[in-house]
């Protein structure tokens, strides 16, 4: 099971140019909205047509601009899960699931529908119409419908973006379980790095139609190769950087010099650190410990983000150098301690590009 994608297409504002291949893994396409990730998926499914390039699925050429091959959508055998599910509103759950396999014999068809309904745990709701189902249930029906045709590849276009947070985490878990049994290529488009991290083993990071990073998910998150890919994988702090020595880099925006774990090259551009990976220094003799002053904070129910300045006590209204994310508990222990606070930029956690 393998898919090879190498396509170019002119889009308003930029040119989509992607090139990747993947096997049985779940490959994530991560990018901000408008980065071309959904268009890539649509081109693979045959809903849109690339200007140039090649798409090959399991040795079968689906699209090749040089050879003039362009299989229509219905001959590509791909399951596509749309962002808004796109269920047929005039058909019941079982009719939706069975619509793509009506050429099969009735018994065979009913058996597949039954199996898929069981898979998505919607037994008893077979006769319901989509408008009588919740968002999560609709999504499961859409997934069952896509899988009923036994597609060679499954394309998921932002499948969770219409769900609320509680349902989302539940559905992510359920999808991961379903996909574990699925014997084909899976492409998963998302703008949410948490989803990408928990669902995919491999990752392609897209920005303005170009690939910024590709590789194993863990690896891309640990050491993103470009600033954009660092930001898209959730790195909130970055500074222009200057090479000082093989193990020292100056963060120009922050006015500090950081020691690095690995040897760095001369033409580095940026240094960054994730907001939750900054540590409270145990004592000042550790490496990469700096004084920081609190400027302001924002909060979510479980975490506090502190916006800090370095070297100076304040940067004026709304100004800050770095964001630091900590738990509420830690915040309550810390907040009344005298400033500046000593924070450590652990060399293990620095992102250098």
């Amino acid at each position: 099971m393998e898919i090879l994608v190498d396509i170019q297409k002119k889009l308003p504002g930029f040119e989509l140019d992607v090139n990747f291949d993947t096997g049985m893994d779940i490959l994530g396409l991560l990018g901000a909205s408008g980065s071309g990730k959904s268009m890539t998926l649509r081109c693979i499914a045959g809903i849109d047509t690339p200007d140039r390039g090649r798409i090959v699925l399991n040795g079968r050429t689906l699209f090749d601009s040089q050879k003039g091959v362009n299989l229509p959508c219905r001959k590509r055998k791909m399951g596509y899960l749309f962002q808004n599910y796109a269920l047929f509103p005039n058909m019941t759950v079982e009719e939706n699931i069975g619509f793509g396999i009506e050429d099969k014999k009735r018994e065979e068809r009913m058996a597949i529908i039954k199996e898929k309904v069981k898979m998505i745990k919607l037994e008893g709701l077979e006769k319901r119409y989509p408008n009588q189902l919740s968002g999560g249930q609709q999504q499961r029906v859409a997934l069952a419908r896509a899988l009923a045709i036994e597609p060679e590849a499954l394309l998921l276009d932002e499948p969770f973006s219409a769900l609320d947070d509680y349902l989302r985490s539940h559905m992510v878990k359920q999808l991961t379980e379903t996909l574990a049994d699925y014997p084909g290529v899976t492409l998963f488009v998302t703008h949410n790095m948490d989803e990408a991290y928990s669902v995919c083993n491999k990752l392609v990071v897209l920005s303005m139609g170009k690939i910024e990073a590709k590789g194993g998910t863990e690896e891309v998150f640990r050491s993103p190769p470009t600033l954009v890919s660092a930001q898209l994988t959730g790195c909130k702090n970055s500074s222009l950087a200057k090479y000082i020595s093989p193990f020292e880099v100056e963060a120009l925006d922050w006015g500090i010099t950081l020691k690095t774990k690995n040897e760095i090259v001369k033409h580095i551009e940026f240094v960054g650190i994730r907001a939750h990976e900054i540590e409270l220094a145990l004592d000042e003799k550790q490496d990469n410990v700096f004084s920081c002053w609190l400027n302001f904070t924002t909060q979510t129910p479980s975490r506090i983000t502190a916006y800090l300045s370095m070297q100076v006590a304040t940067l004026g209204k709304g100004g800050y150098h770095i964001q630091w994310e900590i738990t509420k508990q830690m915040w309550f222990e810390l907040k009344d301690k005298p400033q500046p606070w000593n924070l450590r930029f652990n060399p293990d956690n620095l992102i250098i590009v």
Binding site: I47, F82, F88, N90, Q138, R145
Partner: protein, 186 residues
């Protein structure tokens, strides 16, 4: 362009349409001549009223149906394509059922418009009682000659028919709203 021509009868005054039809189907008109050669005249016969009413009502049908087709979420059609379903089957099993409320609404609107036409019908159909006299024309001529009772009966009849049509329209609009709400929108 085609869209413009098809919609034109909606914006033109009915008498203008009637006039144009008169020229087209008249003894010297291109269609009139053609019909003459097979021994038929349309002008001032009952088919003329049918033609006039159809031309006047057609744009309503056309526009309503077209917008019903356009309102269908393209992703639903795309979803069917990815499932390997043929375009023919998609059309009959998805597009038509989803556009059906619009088609019905268009029919009702066109019907109401056709029923009420006065100008175009009068121009090419005339008002021959029992032959080409339509209800709106009958009302006009009855009222003009002071037969108010007769006019009132016709008015009541139109009133009842229109009321039924309006009720049907409301029913279909509700139905359509429900269908669109189920199209998987957030």
């Amino acid at each position: 362009m085609i869209d413009g021509v098809l919609t034109l009868p909606l914006v033109l005054p009915p008498t203008v349409i009637g006039f144009l039809l008169l020229i087209l189907f008249g003894k010297n008109g291109p269609l009139g001549k053609l019909l003459m050669s097979i021994g038929k005249t349309v002008i001032f016969s009952w088919p003329a009223t049918v033609i006039a009413a159809s031309v006047v009502a057609f744009p309503l049908m056309y526009r309503t149906v077209r917008s019903a087709f356009e309102q269908i979420d393209q992703n639903i059609i795309n979803a069917a394509r990815t499932l390997g379903v043929s375009e023919w089957k998609i059309f009959w099993r998805i597009t038509i059922p989803l556009a059906w409320p619009g088609v019905a609404a268009g029919t009702v609107l066109a019907f109401a418009r056709a029923l009420g036409d006065f100008g175009a019908t009068l121009m090419i159909g005339g008002n021959i009682p029992g032959k080409t006299l339509t209800i709106p024309a009958a009302i006009f001529f009855a009222a003009e000659s002071g037969e108010m009772r007769k006019a009132l009966i016709w008015v009541m009849l139109i009133f009842i028919v229109s009321l039924i049509v309006m009720t049907l329209m409301n029913y279909w609009t509700d139905y359509q709203r429900k269908m669109i709400a189920t199209a998987g929108r957030k």
